[in-house]
Amino acid sequence: MLKLENVTKTFGNHKALKDVSTTFPENKTTVIVGPSGSGKSTLLRSLNFLERPESGHYYFDDLDIDLSKPVSSQTILNIRRHTEMVFQGYNLFPHLSVIKNVMEGPVQVLHQAKSKAHDQAALLLAKVGLAEKADVYPAQLSGGQAQRVAIARSLAMHPEYIFLDEPTSALDPELELEVLKVLLQIAKEKQSMIIVTHNLAFARQVADKIIFVEDGQILFDGSEHDFFATDNKRILDFISAMTFSDLEDD
């Protein structure tokens, strides 16, 4: 279980997170939505300490971290070994072939034998539909393929949580669909995920829980059903603005 309590983060004079408290249930998909610059990426990146909040509490399984005190690099390393991040810009390692990208964490971090890591990576690439791309370099992939490799790379670590920061924002709708299908499949397998996205049609399908963030604060924190049934004027406006091309009747 991952939980935040009264977390704040400021960049200079800008308060990116104001007293944020929420929980991210296990084996469920939590979707974070909100306007650009609302703090939703900061919230996600705080979860694996790519951003360092300055106060509040961070709970992960039996870890209880007081964010106003120094956090040891060993603790951060430990959290990062149990969570994975998928980025908007993929951030594959360009000098390593696709399969080596997927093997890199298991071999270098978990110290798995190369043959074992290779077999697992091949299975994961097949799972995301890219078995035949194992030996090419990332530069030869489309955006949708690159993001599916990034998802395979995160799965290879058997993380407790996968964080996805606008994973399809850089993709055209067709490539986006490839990636969303993979994510839906993973969600069905009860992988705990936290996804920041602008795609409300996808959020509706995949989310067990939705968090709406605006101006560094959580305005809504509840089930997917309650989010779309809300009578909160601000959220209704947001939903109608985001779904002007309504994708949900498929």
């Binding site: 810009g89 951030n91 964490g105 270098q108 790379r153």
Partner: protein, 232 residues
């Protein structure tokens, strides 16, 4: 003229293979190690006592880039014998000329190459660090497995520049009594009174050495760029 070329070539090449090339290669390898170490220290985010170390390395780079290489050679070879410290160096530091040359060339190349390596590490996108950290890598693993392999590709052309410069700069070693290729050409010219032919000839041999290095650079660029697709 043909006779002069024929008779002096063996002597020039012998000096080239005995001094010019070995001094250049050894100095460059030591220089690269110094450069990598210097770049990593200067890029470190560590605070406290580490700031003093960073300042020392910044001073080192400044010193060797701001003074002429010839002057550095003179200080190390002719100057250090007069650095008499009671108990440690009662008779000053007397160095064999080749050792003095290699020390000076290594430190000089190290200062320049540290800037090349530092800039190439800084040019790797932040997302590479973030992705590697997110997997759970420690900083040293990120550097070794993710950042440096990519930085090498970027730093290769400027490092090759430094190496080619170094090969030619070894001619300055003539001034500290090393009988390298240029010194030999001077000696022969003093005997046969043909400075134009002798210095042109030695220039050709430097150019040949550097051309081979340029080919080597091209090959290494190809190998290290195999993962990059370009339309150029």
């Amino acid at each position: 003229m043909w006779h002069i070329i024929q008779t002096s070539t063996p002597q020039l090449l012998e000096a080239g293979f005995k001094y010019t090339i070995p001094i250049a290669i050894v100095s460059f390898i030591i220089g690269l190690i110094i450069a990598l170490f210097t770049a990593l220290i200067r890029l470190s985010a560590k605070r406290g006592a580490f700031l003093v170390l960073k300042a020392i390395f910044r001073f080192y780079v400044w010193l060797f880039r701001s003074t002429p290489l010839l002057v550095q050679l003179f200080i190390v070879y002719f100057g250090l014998p007069y650095l008499k410290i009671k108990g440690i160096f009662p008779n000053g530091i007397q160095l064999n000329p080749v050792v003095a040359g290699i020390i000076t060339f290594s430190l000089n190349t190290g200062a320049y190459c540290s800037e090349t390596i530092r800039a190439s590490i800084l040019s790797i996108p932040e997302g590479q660090w973030e992705a590697a950290y997110s997997i759970g890598m420690t900083k040293s693993v990120v550097l070794r497995r993710i950042i440096l392999p990519q930085a090498i590709r970027i730093s290769l052309p400027p490092l090759a520049n430094s190496f080619i410069s170094l090969v030619k700069d070894t001619s300055l070693a003539a001034s500290i009594t090393i009988v390298e290729m240029f010194e030999v050409s001077q000696q022969i010219a003093a005997q046969n009174y043909q400075p134009l032919i002798m210095y042109s000839l030695v220039a050709v041999y430097y150019a040949v050495f550097c051309t081979v290095l340029t080919w080597l650079q091209g090959y290494l660029e190809k190998v290290t760029s195999r993962y990059v697709t370009t339309t150029r």
